[in-house]
Amino acid sequence: MHEATQQVISALSEGFSDVDFSPSPLMDRADGAVGAEQIYVRVPADRLLEVMRFLRNSEACAFEQLCDLTCVDYLNFPKATDRYGVVYSLLSLSRNHRIWVKCFVNDPSPEVPSVTGVWAGAEWMEREVWDMFGVRFSDHPDLRRILTWEAFEAHPLRKDYPLRGRGEREDYEVLTRESR
C-alpha cells in the first residue's frame, strides 16, 4: 500500500472509529500479484455522507475531485455478499492520491444518500446509476432518468435484465408530411 493511501486510511479510522472500512485492493492482477496501490474502503450507506464530507474536507485526505461514480451489480458474483456496490472514485489534486469507496446496498429498495452536496458533479452520474441500476439517491435535486426515455420502466444494466430486452417501446405519435 502506498504511503499516501496509508495516511488516508489511518485518518479515516481515527475519524470514524466505529466504522469497519476493511481496506482491500480494488482488483487482483492476472499475474497473481495483488494490485497494491489501488485501495477501496467499504462504507455503510447510513454513514456515507459523513465519510464523504470528511474525505472531501479534511486536511489529510483533501479529495477535491470525484472522478467517477458508478455501480456494480454483484448478482451471482462469486463470494459476493451484497447485490449492488455503488463505487466512488476519488482523486486529490493537491495531494496527488486516490481512493475508491464502495457502498453496498440490497434489494428490495436500494438507496444511498446523494453526494451532490459534496461534489456537485455527482448529479448526472447519480442519475445514470439510477437509470441503469435502479439505485435511488436520497436528497438528489433532480433524480430523473438520463439515458433512457421517461416512460421506460426497467433498469437495463441489472444482471437480471434479459440481454435481448423485454421488448419495451415508446409510444410516440408518428409524424407524417400530412400531419403537420
Binding site: A154, R164, G165, L175, T176
Partner: protein, 172 residues
Amino acid sequence: MSWIDNKFEEGLIVTSLDWAINWGRQNSIWPMTFGLACCAIEMMAVGASRFDIDRFGAGAFRASPRQSDLMIVAGTVTYKMASRLKRLYNQMPDPKYVIAMGACTIGGGPYFKHGYHVVKGVDLVVPVDVYVPGCPPRPEALIEGLMRLQDKIRHQTRAKDPISRVKEEVLN
C-alpha cells in the same frame, strides 16, 4: 412541400418560375449540424475538404434548425433522442428535407433485433426523403444521397399535379 406548391395551372410562367425556384433550392440545401453516432464522423468527412459537400451548395452546416433546410440524421436514434429529433424537425422552416443516413437510422441497424433503446427506423418518427444505406455509408454515398435529393427538388413543381387535378374534376 411548401404553401406555394401544387397550387397553379401549368403554363409558361409557372414552369419558368419552377425552374428558378428549384434551381435556388437545390443548390443551397443547408444541413443542420446534427450528428448522433458513428455515422456523424462520415458526415463530418463529407463536410471537410477531401469530399467537400460545399461543391453542391450544402456545406453551410447551420447550428440552428430555424436556418436549415436539411436534416441529415446521421447515427443511432434512441427513444430518448426520438422526441428531441421530432421537435427539431418541427422547428425547421419549410421546405425541409430529411436524409436517413446509415443502417441505424434506416431500420435500427445492429440494434434492430435486441436493442431495447433504439428506434427501428427514423421514418417512424419523421418523414424521410432519401435513405443512404451503409454502416457507416462512405462519404461518396452521402454525396450520392444529396444528389438524389437534388433530383427530387428539381422535379418539384408549383403546378397542380395531374392526380389532384383529376380528383378536383371528379369532385366538382
